[in-house]
Amino acid sequence: MTAEVFAAVAAYNDPDVVPTVHSLIDNAGARVRVAVMLQMDDGAITDGLVSLPQVDLIRIDPQDSQGCCWARSIALSMYEDEPWYLQCDAHMRFESDWVAKLKAQSALVQPRSVMTTYALALGDEAEDAYGAMFPYEWGDDGPHCAGGSYRTEVFGGKPIPARCWSGHFAWAPGAYLREVPYDPQLYFSGEEFSTALRAWTRGWDLWHPAAWICSHRYGRVSHRSCHWDDNDWDFRDRLCKARVANIYGWPQPGEVPAGPLGVYGLGTERSLEDFEEWSGLDIKGKRYIPDPIWRDVMKGITPFSDDLFVTKDKDFAPDENAIMQPVDGEE
């Protein structure tokens, strides 16, 4: 065990995994080990990764895959007690010395903290803004978050408290992986918010880092397919939604039973109600609660005004009413 950081990447027929992994390693400025879970038809594309000493790679046929969360859980199973963990997507680029930048952010908050966000869009990064997540609607899989950004002055150089967790960019001390192991039975929808709740109720705080760490390629490129393009995914999706409904305390949504949650359920250090009160997200009632603790914390960080939000893409524009003003939830 010599690496300082364990990074996990799952890729589904996505050749962009090759430059992603190179970018991750080349810009780390620290010893990293990268676990790559490839669900690829064409092995030749990724042959170059196999010979990298920093890479532990598994390639399976896409037809054997159970989907995104399942593949992530397998990549994460290769963890070997490294001090830090990072999980990211297979279509990302990293800034130089990203490890040092993240460690510096983690040093500013309590040790049981996760740095996470929707990274800024590749090719559309803003010099004066950092990525953040904005809950904006209630779905059948939990609150949906939009990616957006705050101006850097909101952060003042420090992480700001987050109410969501991102599957394409999460960083934490390695112990997190043992305490909040990935549920392989999840599919895609519901993964992120249920993970936020599981982490938070186990005593892990969530933060958006005040640093430009990486960029994410949103949308699809022509040569990439997704698990749901090639496979019968209906059952796994319904299983996933049944499991997250159980976590939220919602009635079961359909015929597929959630099954036991075990270690993939909520923690006992803090309750779901604690989270609701803190975040202003009334999960059981699917609405926003006025004046949550989170809002007070944010007010203490910065005097809010509209021009603190930076949005490059109207589709990802955060609804500031949802963020700043208590409004009734809409379904």
């Binding site: 065990m1 054997d64 159970q66 397998i74 963890y79 043992r178 192991p181 075990g262």
Partner: protein, 310 residues
């Protein structure tokens, strides 16, 4: 269709896995769902053939990427989808007709969440009227170790044959076991069964041996099977980390500074001390005691058993 048993089979360069899986599926009375993890470089055709079997999931891992049996069992469990029961076997076993019904009947007659396991006997040694108990014998650096001991089937007059150790090669449990006590992907080989025993017990599971034999182990008679440690020079490091995990569970002196066990640690439903009293051991001191409580579960049966041992 919804199956009630989810089964896990993991293999490392073992040609007998085909016979094992076809026997497992063929001898079951009802359809089961099986996850098969094949670690090795000679499995391309086997994987293709296995995908054609009903309700199978095949995960083929090249030899170079293989990380041992504990990790493979963790991978197999990722295919679990909420089935009522979990079954786990080695890659070299042979099943008796309607083994699934026999195991479900055993679970029903016990009537509480129980891990039913043992070390199955070989075809040659198998006697249908005997039951195989894992008898704890000594403490090693990977935990409490046991060996097989056969008893006449009528030794145990009550519904449950209490076990003090879990055997990983033949294990039947409620499906919840997969998510309550999931395989720690960083366990290598030695220590896996003792760690599972302590975790299962403290998570509130009862431990039993099967009253009826439903499978035979295929021992490698003609040649020694290839093992993960034959091909991986770094296995010693994995082994050391596994043993360290056992030390984290048992409170033995630590050699490394590993992270918390987290979800792979002890449960909160029972204490380690209650296991010690039950199994008749003192883990920290690595000692055996004279008055384990498992014996007192049925006094008549114990008397009978003592006779049988003479």
């Amino acid at each position: 269709m919804k199956t009630s048993i989810f089964a896990s089979v993991v293999a490392y360069e073992d040609p007998d896995v085909w016979e094992t899986v076809t026997s497992l599926i063929g001898q079951a009375m009802d359809p089961i769902r099986v996850a098969i993890v094949l670690q090795g470089d000679d499995y391309e055709q086997t994987a293709r053939d296995m995908r054609e079997l009903p309700n199978t999931h095949v995960l083929r891992i090249p030899r170079k990427a293989a990380r041992g049996v504990g990790w493979a069992r963790h991978l197999a469990q990722t295919y679990y989808e909420g089935e009522e029961f979990y079954y786990q076997t080695d890659s070299h076993a042979n099943f008796h007709d309607e083994w699934d019904v026999a195991l479900i009947d055993m679970m029903d007659s016990i009537g509480k969440p129980t891990v039913i396991s043992t070390y199955p006997r070989s075809r040659e040694c198998y006697k249908p009227d005997e039951v195989t108990v894992i008898e704890p014998t000594f403490f090693g650096d990977a935990g409490l170790m046991g060996r097989c001991q056969d008893y006449p089937g009528d030794t145990f007059g009550y519904e449950m044959i209490p076990a003090r150790l879990i055997g990983g090669g033949h294990l039947f449990a409620p499906g919840s076991f997969v998510v309550d006590v999931p395989h720690d992907p960083q366990m290598y080989f030695a220590g896996e069964e003792f760690a599972m025993t302590l975790r299962a017990w403290t998570h509130g599971y009862h431990l039993a041996h099967p009253r009826k034999t439903v499978c035979c182990h295929l021992y490698d008679i003609e040649h020694r099977r290839r093992q993960h440690w034959d091909d991986h020079a770094d296995w010693g490091e994995r082994d050391a980390r596994s043993k360290e995990r056992v030390a984290m569970l048992t409170g033995w002196p630590r050699k490394m500074s590993l992270h918390t066990l987290g979800a792979y640690g002890l449960g909160k439903k029972r204490t380690l001390r209650s296991y010690e009293d039950y199994a008749g051991v003192r883990i920290k001191a690595k000692e055996f005691t004279d008055d384990p409580t498992w014996r007192t579960l049925d006094v008549d049966a114990i008397a009978h058993r003592t006779e049988a041992m003479k």
